[in-house]
């Protein structure tokens, strides 16, 4: 795994310039389209107002009609953007293929990236992070081996339907961030859930209870549930807890872990990742650094825990 500065230089050199030109083309196109659409809307409004002056009885219908068409356009657009993230057309697609692919390969050449693939809902469900969801979306799959450990990471968003008193339904985001699956070399004969401190403990099975650990600082950030306290203590050693806290403090990013059988599931509440922004540089330092910090934290925390588990005799 390489350092961020080396990765950034490689990305800049290989893909930065070409994509920057595409970004500028995309901006111009977006501005021109916005101007044309604005002019059309203004003209339609002018016609509608004139029509309403001539036939006052039709004023209400005209206004309602314009509102309905506008809402329909926005609803349609938001449906599209949920299932196809980063709806900035060609630029985002190129950004992922050129910048992010180079970025991931530069991070570790054993990793492969595909922006169009993701983790399946059934794989996500096995992590037992949520009690259930109504809508699921995943993309930006990274998979490969770190050493001898098989790993799969993807951006995931889950939503649930909420209904208000009037029966109106809306979607509410449950989780949006990076989700990872790591295959362990050993079978751990217990379930261990490491959750955000004072969270509602979704997904915890009934046979598990909260375990108090011998690190006050760790207890402030995380709650641990398990059906076998001894195994949990064997895995969560002092240096594992210290390293987990270090990554938490560095990124100020909440993350949670589930260990069941021979699988480790980890998720970071990072929000949207790997999305291009036509209004910022194609190789925006801060955006890439954020991606690097999250990915690096996921790999390092997973590696620390898997190394401990793989050395133990269960």
């Amino acid at each position: 795994m390489n350092k961020f500065n080396d990765i950034y230089v490689k990305v800049l050199k290989e893909s930065g310039e070409e994509l920057e030109q595409l970004r500028k083309i995309q901006i111009n196109r977006t501005i021109k389209t916005s101007i044309v659409v604005s002019i059309i809307i203004i003209m339609l409004l002018a016609v509608a107002i004139r029509f309403a002056e001539l036939v006052p009885e039709m004023l209400m219908i005209t206004v309602l009609g314009i509102i309905a068409i506008t809402l329909r356009i926005f609803v349609f657009k938001s449906k599209i953007s949920f299932y196809k993230k980063g709806s900035q057309g060609d630029f985002n697609s190129e950004y992922k293929q050129k910048i992010i692919k180079t970025f991931i390969k530069a991070y570790d050449e054993n990793l492969d990236y595909d922006p169009n693939l993701g983790i399946s809902p059934s794989e996500y469900i096995k992590g037992q992070f949520d009690d259930g969801f109504d809508r699921f979306c995943s993309e930006d799959l990274i998979k490969g081996n770190i050493g001898e450990t098989k790993i799969k990471i993807s951006e995931v968003q889950t939503e649930i339907i909420r209904e208000d008193e009037d029966g109106n339904k809306s979607y509410s985001v449950l989780f949006h961030g990076m989700f990872g699956i790591i295959e362990l070399e050993q079978f751990v004969p217990s379930k261990i859930f490491i959750r955000e401190n004072r969270s509602k403990a979704h997904g915890i099975t009934i046979d598990c209870e909260k375990v108090e650990l011998d690190s006050l600082e760790f207890e402030k950030r995380f709650d641990v549930y398990t059906n076998d306290k001894i195994q949990a203590m064997r895995i969560l050693t002092a240096d594992v807890m210290t390293e987990m806290l270090e990554y938490y403090n560095e990124n100020k990013n909440v993350y949670e872990i589930t260990i069941i059988g021979n699988m480790l599931y980890i998720r970071f509440k990072s929000g949207s990742m790997f999305e291009g922004n036509i209004f910022k540089s194609a190789v925006d330092f801060d955006a890439l650094k954020k991606n690097y910090d999250i990915i690096n934290s996921m790999f390092n925390i997973s590696k620390k825990i898997t190394d401990i588990i793989n050395k133990k005799d269960f």
Partner: protein
């Protein structure tokens, strides 16, 4: 007025009962954690006869040392004293450490299996001790904070002793390599 006084009195009594029950539960949790340590120590010490049998042909240990270890084991099984258990565990670790100097012993499959099992049990034992210390710390804190300390004093709750690894660690440093 009396009505409010009665409600306050009921709340106070309910609070006292709750705190008392919490102290009792925590005390039981300590006993459970101590019992877990005992289980792992006993499992480990059950392998001592096998260990002695395995190493005595290879290692230059005096017969008296093996007799001493066997006696310590019998003593622990009778008393279940954790300190005695810790001392005996330390002696086992010394044997395993000294075995590193004997290549023929390290090549023995029987010894390797024993070593693997003992190592796993030691790891479980460390985890059990950590759990025990957490339970003791929580209990000691509970019976010392205000106002629970008043209830604790009234029922005669005493502070529990933490498991200390200092003596064991010191002895390990003195082992000759």
């Amino acid at each position: 007025m009396i009505y409010y006084l009665v409600i306050v009195l009921i709340l106070i009594i309910a609070y006292i009962i709750r705190q008392y029950n919490t102290i009792v539960r925590m005390s039981k949790a300590i006993n459970q954690a101590r019992s877990a340590i005992d289980v792992y120590l006993t499992q480990r010490f059950d392998l001592i006869p096998n260990l002695i049998e395995c190493v005595k042909g290879y290692m230059e240990y005096e017969k008296e040392t093996f007799v001493k270890i066997t006696e310590m084991r019998t003593q622990y099984l009778n008393t279940k004293d954790l300190k005695e258990g810790a001392n005996l565990n330390n002696e086992c670790n010394k044997i395993l450490l000294n075995a590193e100097q004997y290549p023929e012993l390290k090549a023995s499959e029987h010894f390797l299996n024993l070593q693997k099992n003992l190592s796993r049990m030691e790891d479980q034992l460390q985890a059990a001790r950590r759990i025990y210390n957490v339970e003791v710390t929580q209990y000691n804190t509970k019976i010392n904070v205000i106002p629970t300390n008043i209830i604790a004093k009234y029922i005669g709750a005493q502070e529990a002793e933490l498991f200390k690894a200092e003596d064991e660690a010191q002895d390990n440093v003195n082992v000759q390599l």
